[in-house]
Structures are given as structure tokens and as C-alpha cells.
Amino acid sequence: MKILVCISNVPDTTTKITFSPDGKAFNTAGVQFVINPYDEYALTRAIELKEAQGGTVTVLNVGEADTEPNIRKALAIGADDAIRVNLKPTDAFLVAQQIAHYAKEGGYDLILMGRESIDYNGFQVHGMVGELLGIPTIAPAIKLDVNGSTATLEREIEGGKEVIEAVLPLVVTAQQPMTEPRIPNMRGIMTARTKPLKVVEPVGQDAKTSVQNYELPPAKSGVKMISADSAGDLIKLLRNEAKVL
């Protein structure tokens, strides 16, 4: 089985988000970038499927050269090789086009990715890649097993889940509790250095959206404290003052 795992490079979840004074750019100074947490579920599940059934895991990232440490990390966790499409990922369709092109070229059975990146939060790329390739997307999946050419999945729905059987090839998005993300071990880190990382040029520059500026949410005006002894008063305030009950 040939599996492609798409990863994006995002600010660590503890990052305090700030922007340039004109609001045009995200301040990356001092920010630690990591593999998008949702993509880690996809990567680990892909490696587990490979270990159980044989095959290969290729990671793909659409990004500039500064994403390579995290691509190497994915290789250290257990992917076999990597592709970096040399392009700043500024738009979901732009990214989906790259993934679809290189996925088609590689002839993968399964294309896995996280449900969304924790920076842009589009939750769009999965469906766009599926539509561009003319194959189904199952999103957001919380369980994935493969038996021969059939995948059995659980898809999260509002208020429950569905069990789905689908024939490969497929696009699938991952999130908890699909698996427990792995961290690289020393042997993995050593072997990752020599695994192939191919840098390729983008296909097309067809973006459908353009970010104009960023803004932080307004700060809270301050917290009103209520004594624990008269905790019941809180409920009255929520009804009469905040008017939310």
C-alpha cells in the first residue's frame, strides 16, 4: 500500500499570536514551528498501517525551505521519503492543487492529512484534493483500518459517529482518538538524515482567496469575582446582568 501523508508547518500550540503593526503579517520571531498536531495523527496512523501490512509512507509538505526541520522530523517518526513543494501555502486551493498533482503522479492508495491546520483553520484541503482527483474524502475520520482494497472508517458527525466502508483510493482526514501520536527515537533521528527529501516546483499559482489583514480579538474588560460562600449569586448575575440564562 502506498500512503501519502500531507503535513503542514504551524506555530506550536503554546504560541502567543501577534502581528506586524499594520496587521498584514504574522510575527514569526521567536515562534517555534511544529508539525500540525492533527497531521501527527495522520502520520502515525499511516506508519502503523505500513508496519502491519507493508508498503510505503511518503510525506508531502507545501512550504518554503524553513519547513525542512519538521519534514525531517516526520521522516524520523517513520516516513520513508518526503516531497517538499517549494511554495508558500497562502491559500487552500493553491495547496490542494499541489497535493493533487503530486498525489496523481505518485499513484497513492491512501492520502492522509489532519482535519485542518491550527493556523489557517480552513478545513478545506481534504475535500478539494478529493474533488480534484475524483475520489471520495472521508472527513473528519476518527478511526481508520484497511483490509486489502477496502477501508473501514468511523466519521465524526455532530452528535455521534458513522461507520463507513469505502474502496481505495481515498482521501482521509485524521484527528483524535485515531491513534496516539509518536515521537521520534534516536535511531529514527539518525536514519532520517539520509532518507530522500525531494524538492519540487509548484504547479500553477491559482489562489482563490487573499488575506488582507489580521486582528486580535478585543481584550476582556476584566473579571467580576464572586465569593465562594455566595456562589449562588452568580446564577442571578448570569440571568439579570449578563442575560445569558
Binding site: 491550527i118 478539494m128 471520495p136 482567496t209 465569593s227 446564577i235
Partner: protein
């Protein structure tokens, strides 16, 4: 030119998030000087659709195919694409749900449209420029995004905008069929497992959430009882889901579910930045924590310093005493 609103239905009714989408779509239509049509899919009564007139919808296209009662992306996309074509729609409005994301992303490619998800504002329309505000960095910020293509798809974040209701408005309901083939249902679910009786976390107006400050699963009834007294949904922090006190689908935060209820009550949650990201678009936040230095108090509207096992029973008692 027209605006098309995608209506999700369940148990015979229109989902609240789709009423928000309908209200949003009507406002966009009047800004563009056109009308708003809806397309409804799923298990719904025609009466419920007629009432969409109260949100300014003039006409509803209803596909009655019972195979559409379960969500199947390929089939839904086909129905909506056909509706968009027959209505000559230039703007399509969806709700930012799992279903909305699955439909919107495929539809955007099919129609060559620009797509914005997680949208929290009405569009700013200036000549040919069309810009919406959306939540980014997992709730830590907003960005204004221009939708460049002639066709635009907007997925509206739940509970971000008010539902405008004009009483007495009625929409005409027309049957509509996209002539679906069996192959459109290739990924239909074999089985659907629903949580019974609970209020849907993502649709809830009030959420009561618990963290490690509850000390153990044996105290979880405090969260449940308070939620029950307030008609609220329950949620939890990531550590609570990770240790298995509660299922992962209740985990609220940066890598879990993002909620934006009118009222979010956090019990025994310290307020790590990842948790705040999932809840900070809630309208009112209440924090109950025994540590007065808990960072969550800085993001709260109301706070109580105290042990959950002592404070929450008092809240339950007061909540039960409220007249409904």
C-alpha cells in the same frame, strides 16, 4: 445572480446553525440586490422549511430522496451544484459544520469558487471586492479575506451572528431532484451511532466544562448536574479526555472542538492557551477554580475562587431555583 443557502436538517427540523446561515444569506442577498433561495437536504418536514421565510428566504428547493437522510458528500454536492446552476447562484452560504466543510470544499473546486470557512462577519462589498472576516489561529485571531473568484462560498461559524426573524414570513417549497445514481452513495454509512439524549455540544447555547480540578471521574456528576439544571451541554479539557475520564468528542480546545456558546462555564480548568483557543469566542465565560492565579480568570467575565466540590452544588441549587 442569486444567493443560495444550504439547509441542514435532522429529525424533521432545520438545525439552528442553518437558521443562522439562512439569516446570513438573506442579508447578503439584500446587499447584492437579489433574493435568497435555500436548498434543503435530509430528514425534514415541509412546514419547517416554509418558516424559513421568517429568515428572509423566498423559495426552498427540497430534495426528498430518502437516501439523503444520511450525509454522503458526493450526493449532497451533486444536489447543491445542480441547485446553484438552476438558480444561477453567485454566493452560496453554508454552516461551518462537518457537513458544511465537506460540501464547501468539493463544491468550491466543482464551481471554481472562492471558499471562506469559519466566517464571523457579513461581507464587506466594495465594487468588485468582496471580503469576509474569519477566525484563524484556532480562535486566537481573525483575518479579513478577499474572495477573488466570481462565485463565492461562505461557511458561517456557529453562533457568531444573530438570527434575524420577521414573524409571518413564509417561503414556498418546491420539490427538486438531482437524479442521483447509486454510485453517488458509494461512501454511504453502514451504521450511524448517535449519543442519546445529550444536547449537541456544537449547537449548545450553554456549555458546562470540567477539568482536572474535579480530581476524578467520581466527581463528574457535578458537571452533569449543573449542565442539566441549566439545559447545557457538557465538555471537558484535553487532560481529562487524555486520561479517559471523558470521551475525546467532548474535548474542547485547540486540537479538539471549538465552541462559541452564549455562556461557557469552566470548572477546575486552569486555562492553558490551547484550551482558551477553543472557547474564547464564547459570549460570556465563567471560571471556577481554587487557584486564584489560574490564567483562565484573565479571560473570564465572572469568576469564583473555590473548590469545585463546594462551589458547584451551590450553583446547581441556585440554577434549579430559577424560573424557566
Amino acid at each position: 445572480m442569486s444567493v443560495l443557502v444550504v439547509i441542514e436538517c435532522a429529525n424533521g427540523e432545520v438545525k439552528k446553525s442553518s437558521l443562522e446561515a439562512a439569516s446570513y444569506g438573506s442579508k447578503v442577498a439584500s446587499a447584492l440586490g437579489t433574493s435568497a433561495t435555500a436548498v434543503a437536504i435530509g430528514d425534514v418536514q415541509a412546514d419547517a422549511l416554509t418558516r424559513l421565510g421568517e429568515q428572509g428566504i423566498s423559495k426552498v428547493l427540497l430534495d426528498n430522496d430518502t437516501r439523503l437522510h444520511d450525509f454522503v458528500a458526493a450526493a449532497y454536492v451533486k444536489v447543491i451544484a445542480k441547485a446553484a446552476e438552476s438558480e444561477n447562484s453567485t454566493v452560496i452560504v453554508l454552516s461551518n459544520s462537518n457537513i458544511g466543510a465537506a460540501i464547501g470544499s468539493r463544491l468550491a473546486v466543482k464551481l471554481g469558487a472562492s471558499l471562506a470557512t469559519n466566517v464571523v462577519s457579513l461581507p464587506q462589498i466594495n465594487g468588485s471586492s468582496f471580503t469576509v472576516r474569519r477566525g484563524v489561529f484556532s480562535g486566537k485571531a481573525f483575518s479579513d479575506v478577499e474572495l477573488i473568484s466570481d462565485k463565492k462560498i461562505i461557511a458561517v461559524k456557529k453562533n457568531a451572528l444573530d438570527i434575524e426573524t420577521a414573524s409571518g414570513g413564509t417561503a414556498t417549497v418546491e420539490n427538486f431532484s438531482a437524479d442521483l445514481a447509486d454510485s453517488d452513495f458509494a461512501t454511504a454509512p453502514k451504521e450511524t451511532i448517535r449519543q442519546s439524549g445529550d444536547i449537541l455540544l456544537t449547537e449548545a447555547e450553554v456549555v458546562v466544562s470540567g477539568g482536572r480540578g474535579l480530581k476524578g471521574p467520581e466527581n463528574w456528576h457535578l458537571v452533569e448536574d449543573l449542565a442539566k439544571a441549566l439545559g447545557a451541554a457538557t465538555a471537558c479539557s484535553k487532560p481529562v479526555a487524555d486520561v479517559g475520564w471523558r470521551p475525546h468528542h467532548e474535548h474542547v480546545g485547540q486540537t479538539g472542538i471549538t465552541v462559541s456558546p452564549n455562556l461557557y462555564i469552566a470548572v477546575g480548568i486552569s486555562g492553558a492557551i490551547q484550551h482558551l483557543a477553543g472557547v474564547n469566542s464564547s459570549k460570556v465565560i465563567v471560571v471556577i477554580n481554587k487557584d486564584p492565579e489560574a490564567p483562565f480568570f484573565k479571560a473570564a467575565d465572572y469568576g469564583i475562587v473555590g473548590d469545585a466540590t463546594e462551589v458547584v452544588p451551590k450553583l446547581i441549587e441556585a440554577a434549579k431555583a430559577l424560573d424557566k
